[in-house]
Amino acid sequence: MSGNPESAQLRRGTLASVALLVVFLAAWEWGPGCLGIPPYIVPPMSAVAKEAVRMWNVSGLAMHTGVTAAEVLIGFLLGSLLGAFFGYILGMSPTAEVALSPYILALQIAPKVAFAPLFVLWMGFTIYPKILVAILIVFFPVLINVLTAVRNVDPDLINLARAFKASRAQIFWKIEFPASLPPLFAGLRIGSTLAVVGVVVGELVGGNLGLGYLLAFGEGQANTPMVFVAILMLTLVGGVAYLLVILAERRVLHYMPKNALSGF
């Protein structure tokens, strides 16, 4: 089979990637032992795998993962919706932007995860404070991207629509909204990974559910393999969220030249 140079490149890259994974796993399994690092610092891969099985059977790993995934999903969706909504409002109304920008800037600078203890105080050991932190942290990159996109629409394009006697609503739906989609998706990609951060911090702070809780519990027990398992599962949750965004992006932005949509 002789593909074009591009697919050959892709095949070589994938191969190298798989090889790297094998090397990494091997180093993880035998590296610590060879270097004399004790298992309670860096447990070998097999110990982590065994712990994962034990946690799945005994500690409700699936349930905790499900809780975290649900919080991430809800927080991400609500945060993106709110961020996009305010992004469009501010993008279309310079007055609103001037009025609100100092507060937005302040909130953007404030470390969002620092709100987690406050939210737990307000809402107790429920899933809501976690979702709220996720909403807050997802909100800004989405808002900023949408706002900038609406602002940066070529004024000549708007004039073209105006010359055809477009209404404000038509200008939004036919120009500003579609023009904002590529930056919106860039914001959603960032948001999908940040949502996991927000949820974990919330779970670390309080409650007895979710991967963040397992993380804290494992730490308390000095159960390093458990901590590793929790981190891996969190990465998995974030990875799936990211993947879903990319799949949606590919569908929605199908008109874009291929090289403008990066694989990651």
């Binding site: 394009l157 004039n159 629509a161 010359a163 055809f164 006697k165 038509q170 579609p178 030249p257």
Partner: protein
């Protein structure tokens, strides 16, 4: 061509606020374009040509004076005028045919008629094979042809063209110029063609207006007395063309020593 005036500027002055004072972009410009006539407008950059286009299309109101299209005073954007710029302004998320339908869609022309009009224009401009393509898949010349189709799709009586081909390469430009000339002639459209290409002005128009540096005023008017307004390539070879271009150069103060310029 009839004697009906389709586009008219009457004592139009445009000032823009600048710092503490203001900048006069165009001053007391009066001009009129008859039905079916193509008038070229040339002048140094910054003399207010695009400003006049904005006033004609109703996107900007003049500081003094009035513009009229089809006898009606221009109060804002109206369906009688459509413009085309150097930038094609195609929407990247729309296919070629969807881009052509952009204006008629905004004007809420029924969708069957929209499609029919767009298809007819694509056929005329030899774009039908690309109806389903996206703009990024087209060359600059083709994109500009799509922009022309979009402008014609709303069936305006007056076209305002602002350096429409200045961003495409010389050979493509000649092809596009011929297509534009033929389309304008066969559809009997009235047009104001802003250009900095003197040869384009002479070969595509019935009349050339020359503007002074800012504040822009009309300082000369040359009737192009040659056959073939729908065939700019033939006009290029016409002996008079060189004379006209020469005169325009002199009027614009290019090549003061007056050496002859080959056509």
């Amino acid at each position: 061509m009839t004697d009906t005036i389709r586009l008219e500027y009457r004592n139009v002055t445009m000032r823009f606020a600048q710092g503490a004072g203001h900048l006069t972009a165009v001053e007391n410009v009066s001009l009129s374009v008859r039905d079916g006539e193509v008038v070229a407008l040339i002048g140094p950059s910054g003399c207010g040509k695009s400003t006049l286009l904005n006033i004609g299309s109703g996107l900007a109101a003049p500081s003094a004076g009035d513009a009229f299209v089809d006898g009606e005073r221009v109060e804002g954007p109206n369906a009688h005028v459509a413009f085309m710029l150097q930038k094609d302004l195609l929407l990247p998320w729309r296919t070629v045919i969807e881009n052509v339908m952009f204006g008629v869609e905004i004007q809420r022309v029924p969708s069957a008629e929209r499609r029919q009009r767009a298809q007819a224009l694509l056929d005329n401009l030899k774009l039908s094979d690309f109806a389903g393509h996206y703009p990024h898949q087209l060359s600059g010349g083709m994109r500009q042809r799509v922009a022309l189709a979009r402008t014609l799709a709303v069936d305006p009586t007056v076209l305002l063209l602002d350096e429409p081909f200045s961003a495409v390469d010389a050979q493509t430009r000649m092809v596009l110029q011929r297509e534009l000339a033929q389309t304008l002639k066969s559809a009997g459209k009235t047009a104001l063609l802003i250009t900095h290409d003197l040869l384009e002005a002479v070969t595509l128009s019935d009349r050339v207006l020359v503007m002074s540096p800012r504040p822009g005023r009309i300082v000369d008017e040359i009737a192009v007395d040659m056959p073939g307004r729908d065939d700019p390539l033939a006009r290029r070879r016409h002996p008079r063309t060189g004379e006209y271009v020469n005169r325009l150069m002199q009027r614009l103060g290019i090549g003061h020593d007056g050496e002859p310029v080959p056509a």
